[in-house]
Subunit: 304 residues, 4 copies
Amino acid sequence: MNLFNPGAVFGVVGGDFRQAALAKGLSEGGYPVRVFCIERPPQFLPSQLCCENLDGLSGCDAVVLPLPVSNDDRLLNAPLNTACVPLSDLFSRCRSDALLFGGKVSPAQQRLAQQFGHTIHDYLEREEMAVLNAVPTAEGAVNLAMNERASTLWESRCLVTGFGRCAKALAVLLKGFGARVTVAARREGDLAFARTLGLQTIPLRQLQEVLPQQEIVFNTIPAPVLTRPLLEQLQPECLIIDLASRPGGVDFEAAGELGLKTIWALSLPGKVAPITAGGIIRDTVLHMMADLAGSCPPSPILSK
Amino acid sequence: MNLFNPGAVFGVVGGDFRQAALAKGLSEGGYPVRVFCIERPPQFLPSQLCCENLDGLSGCDAVVLPLPVSNDDRLLNAPLNTACVPLSDLFSRCRSDALLFGGKVSPAQQRLAQQFGHTIHDYLEREEMAVLNAVPTAEGAVNLAMNERASTLWESRCLVTGFGRCAKALAVLLKGFGARVTVAARREGDLAFARTLGLQTIPLRQLQEVLPQQEIVFNTIPAPVLTRPLLEQLQPECLIIDLASRPGGVDFEAAGELGLKTIWALSLPGKVAPITAGGIIRDTVLHMMADLAGSCPPSPILSK
Amino acid sequence: MNLFNPGAVFGVVGGDFRQAALAKGLSEGGYPVRVFCIERPPQFLPSQLCCENLDGLSGCDAVVLPLPVSNDDRLLNAPLNTACVPLSDLFSRCRSDALLFGGKVSPAQQRLAQQFGHTIHDYLEREEMAVLNAVPTAEGAVNLAMNERASTLWESRCLVTGFGRCAKALAVLLKGFGARVTVAARREGDLAFARTLGLQTIPLRQLQEVLPQQEIVFNTIPAPVLTRPLLEQLQPECLIIDLASRPGGVDFEAAGELGLKTIWALSLPGKVAPITAGGIIRDTVLHMMADLAGSCPPSPILSK
Amino acid sequence: MNLFNPGAVFGVVGGDFRQAALAKGLSEGGYPVRVFCIERPPQFLPSQLCCENLDGLSGCDAVVLPLPVSNDDRLLNAPLNTACVPLSDLFSRCRSDALLFGGKVSPAQQRLAQQFGHTIHDYLEREEMAVLNAVPTAEGAVNLAMNERASTLWESRCLVTGFGRCAKALAVLLKGFGARVTVAARREGDLAFARTLGLQTIPLRQLQEVLPQQEIVFNTIPAPVLTRPLLEQLQPECLIIDLASRPGGVDFEAAGELGLKTIWALSLPGKVAPITAGGIIRDTVLHMMADLAGSCPPSPILSK
């Protein structure tokens, strides 16, 4: 089902395999797609979606920039491209009525776009993007744990700290393995929800009570949760996987000194499941376009 | 684990089986408990927890009123009592330093309490209370469906409208039966979360597309969702269970004229699982007391 | 997909709502169906499937008798019929080349059929019939427990004795509720399988160790498992649901004397979900016909 | 709980990490353990369980040989040992009243043991061993799929051929990921059981109908199931994981020619989860000893 003008042309610009998957997904959804700044595409990208010259951007009604748009606020994030592409080159070539989308848009990037008369709509801020990305994050975390360990997840004792979106997906997945999952969270509402899902729970302030018996600790809280005194409660063979964004939640130095194997796993969706992650970006961008259209004068070709 | 001063005396006042279960649960948790306005207790209430004269309220450090506190803002909700008890009689007997708790406290009830120098802390407003109550609500809904139908829930096509707490618990439970569950919700974030749980989804505005094939519709949205034109899309043998609080979400008149069996199931926790519901109130009140204690001068006997 | 000659005419004879659902299901599957000995059909039976005179049996290629075929080896089991119909009347009217199916066929019934040149193929002996019937049995057991109790199944401690088909379906369903399920079985292979499903296990010979903490006991073993000494280990408010066929697995007399609420729930599929149960009979009979056809000279119209 | 004479001394001989985990597990269970032919133990083996001279075998009441006992019917399977050890050297040193256990015991190995007056009890033939080993097999298969793919298992279309123990564990695990699982099996009873678990099913003879839409195919049938004509139905990016023992179920040559990525994954438990696999051997051997004890004159120290 097309949520947008079926004739709208998408420009997919730069990024990694996720962008390539996004281009493929839009094309399979029936949208005309043009690809830019992906000179070395992955095999799964249909050959007719070949990378073209930036001048073609003027033919695009919607332009989807990568996640993140840029690593230095100046050059496009384009690991599959040979040439470096300044953001300003892109923005100057987009039509003034084109819709621009990007992930993790910094204020500096937004300001730059505005100098060219554009607004970048940030798909990373959408609720469904965060919710859906929790799935590849959880799968990636589980995969890391399996690769590192010599035991099954089944009947293993796993601790999940935090109970946001990723923690929920992870805890439910681990339970599907038959792991013995304990959720540690601060808020009573979160602990209650974990309880309704059949998970063991412990208030975060009592974390030390359950640490000695854990085999794997998955942290999702981006704050100093696993401090040295708490790490000292863990068995030496316990594996720690930190999924929290900077600064992370583990005292990595202390963990190292204690001989605890610790993995800081960031940005898992793009690493372990770029095709799925690209599909999630596609779905999210289409929802955003439908919402934007909804606030415009009604259009007969929108299904909304 | 006692979250509160272990010597604190609880007064449990009025209400139905939930209050009796609350009294039992507090007593089993090691708290001294005194019972009021439950002259005809259920069998499960230990005989030593016998109902006493209201004068005993002055010996209570914490007083837990029922859910709701009153049906008319004047008399205590006390279906297990013979005598009618004015709220003012209660409030006048509570010590000025006692903590008062109640469920679904109306502004008029709060004002009355304040005339006697009290504040009623409303446990129904706590997140964990709502989250945990979703479980008996879901079980009650499933039980209703089983009692009404001549087919299994397994392989039945079930629609759940809305995706708040009750809907989540219900959809997950139905999936555990092997039902074919579709969730209809308005927000993309909710639809995404349902998708991560392996549920089918449909945007609420496209509800009509999935109605003809449903065998059971569970509504959880307290707004006119199932209007006559939509009800006309249902098969005549489809069962409708409306879990939404007033005004409900079903055009009951139209449903009746269309010959659709419709059940408006309100306040299920207290009806189908009063013992569990009483335990949920107990847990919630203890959390509230811990929170209140946390904002007081530190006390050495609190575990917090 | 028709597994049998699409032109084959089915005769559905006697029985309860299951037979009516079977007739409806076959008709919806595209088979010509004729109905006998169901003078007071349930509402869900399409009106064109009206009950006809026994003479019509001669027009049927396959005749499906009810489960059980008869309660006294002489008269047809036909609770929805006014007149009593001797089995011999049926058998004499069936064509000699017709296929006869029936449920729980006794040797006496088989002998009687053979006097008329027929063999009754017993669908109750088929593996898929037993496997699928476990689902309505499990749902019925859960429904009984919900109707009898004032607590949720969620977080309740449930014991399942035995681990055959019904016990498996029941234990998995209870786990879906968030119950704390323990499986007691004799064979190590069964206990191991329960463990792989994330269930607690106990060898049957150590049953007494777990009895005191149970809230519900579901027995599926048709042998004296819950003897008086074991029943004495249960708490008085424990609910016992015996799903085992005669002689059952509970010392009912002792249970009564101990004040234990005990329900002997037999033949649940036909009682709680006759429509599903009829569908299961339909699927099973169609499989049997395909198997019978497979051993005959090949027929081009069979999909096998 | 010790199922056997608590004073019994175990000898754990040769093998890989599984045997080391077995030794550790028995020791943690309170049994005296002596270790042989593991000169390079893994780090998790407690240092007091050091490898000793074969002469110590005469002090063992039960001797557990590895899985397999030998790869050539002559030398012990001992990859963690430097020296090669003839089986005859072992058998000659075991006491005549010692119980011998081994995995996948060949007739030649059994004959050799008998020449020394011993019988090797094969733990691989025990039902619980096969049932429990299905779990690490399923986890290993899932791990392989995750490592090979760039998409989530969530919402992926997975086919499982066969429905024995490994297939059951795998299908249920995949469903826990939110995969769209189809089970293909020959027997109606197996298909029915899969259906009760909420899985899609297809008779094996109709396999070709579902092949084009699959993303991963897991075969568990040790017979030529995925022949060239069927492989040609798969999409080129479909991943095939063959879990079937020799000769496997895939025409590997045809798969290679068709450019289909195929992994033949044998003996996964020992590879992906040797610690768990060793624990499973321990549990199984203890059950076997309890059974053997049960047929002997009663012993007061047995818990049975």
